[in-house]
Symmetry: C2
Subunit: 221 residues, 2 copies
DNA sequence: TGTACATCAGTGAACGCGCGTTCACTGATGTAC
DNA sequence: TGTACATCAGTGAACGCGCGTTCACTGATGTAC
């Protein structure tokens, strides 16, 4: 196969890697000009193929965009999973790390982020996209389950799903407003990470968790 | 002036209301097809004028989009102000009502919402837009100030700016994920309003506010 | 191991279309006197 | 009150352009035997 690292073919008739190359091209174009600013034809051009070639791999522009968004969710899930690290070294530390990973992803992958959350793709008509998105959320939910299980005995055990939705929403709001990687980012008198960490700490305190989140013993499996 | 309620002129040479009519047309088109899916030419057509007419009022498509976003922020501010109602009948009630108004705006005005937050307009190059956006945020901030002033004497008084940023982010996250008025809305096993209210209550509890937020006396002016 | 052949993944030319933009123009409106 | 005139806010025709899409085609690849 004669294609190089950038996904540009070098001379052969067959590209060999066109689907990936088109998605990468779309991503680059989204990064430059927003989700609105990429066209099928331009993606083909920047992958070095004729304008008819993409039709072998995607029905239309929207299908390409949906593939990009789906790949984004998969990478997002992988990042969250890595950040969670199955709750090591302790649940509260790992929990906060997941939130940081959320912000880091938004900051480092603005094109993915807007394809995933701001491209207007309807989730109903993209079941694969919905599944990928739910898998990413499942990481936050699993982390919340583990944290909820750690609630002190004297307080009512918080519903993990609600916790997860609150944390997701807070992270998403901060990411969208203050930690986005593009020109629409709003200025903030502190780091987005600090804002999120403080918010999560206050929220957990409100649920009855002790202020010092470091447990004496290892968290329950 | 011979133009009717829909902003369509009825026969005269001069439209008389074209600027407003173009913004309304853009809003309708955004509602139908997302911020990406409207063109200068189409806005002109649906306002009933020639494709050259918009140039008398807007330099280009982006300037029209920015005007729409700015008008959106102004209406948003008005809604938040009305919801806040200067803290009546009491600060905590009014505070929660502001959050609800955030969600209601997102739900009822998806076109404005996406023009304001998801159109990728850089805030740096649109000072008027930034100002309009900050005015809307100022309502949340003023409400937070008043609430922070009500903190019980035995707890450290919370920084109102941080509070405002947390509430804004949480509201924005919930609105963007679960209360949007378009097809990208995610399903939720409860109402977005309930999710937000619960989140705010837990957050305020974490700051040391009493669980029952109704004060015995009227809040301080 | 070679060969014939089916299939895959691309080409490139062509098309109709709508967009953005410019231009000289003109009808309507407002105002100075 | 009338009139002349400047200005405003539109027209409509024209243009070049790039996009989406189709089509018959063809080079490359894989596989049956």
């Amino acid at each position: 196969m004669n294609w190089n690292k950038r996904g540009r073919r070098e001379g052969g008739y067959h590209h060999g890697n066109l689907k990936e190359a088109l998605m990468q091209a779309a991503l680059d174009l989204i990064a430059q000009k927003g989700p609105a600013g990429f066209t099928f034809a331009e993606a083909a051009r920047s992958a070095g193929v004729s304008p008819a070639a993409p039709y072998r791999h995607f029905r239309d522009r929207d299908e390409l965009l949906a593939s990009v968004a789906q790949q984004g969710f998969e990478q997002f899930e992988a990042r969250l999973t890595a950040a969670w690290d199955d709750g090591r070294p302790d649940t509260p530390t790992a929990f906060q790390r997941v939130g940081k990973a959320y912000l880091a992803f938004a900051r480092q992958n603005p094109a993915f982020y807007s394809a995933m959350f701001e491209s207007g793709l309807p989730l109903e008509s993209n079941p694969a996209l919905l599944v990928a998105s739910e898998r990413a959320f499942a990481i936050i939910r699993a982390a919340s389950e583990r944290l909820a299980a750690m609630a002190p005995p004297n307080v009512p055990r918080p519903p993990a799903l609600m916790m997860a939705l609150h944390i997701w929403s807070l992270s998403h709001g901060i990411a969208s407003l203050f930690a986005r990687g593009d020109a629409a980012r709003r200025k903030l008198p502190m780091s987005a990470e600090d804002l999120l960490e403080a918010g999560v700490l206050i929220y957990l305190k409100g649920l009855g968790f002790p202020t010092d989140q470091r447990p004496a013993a290892a968290p329950p499996r």
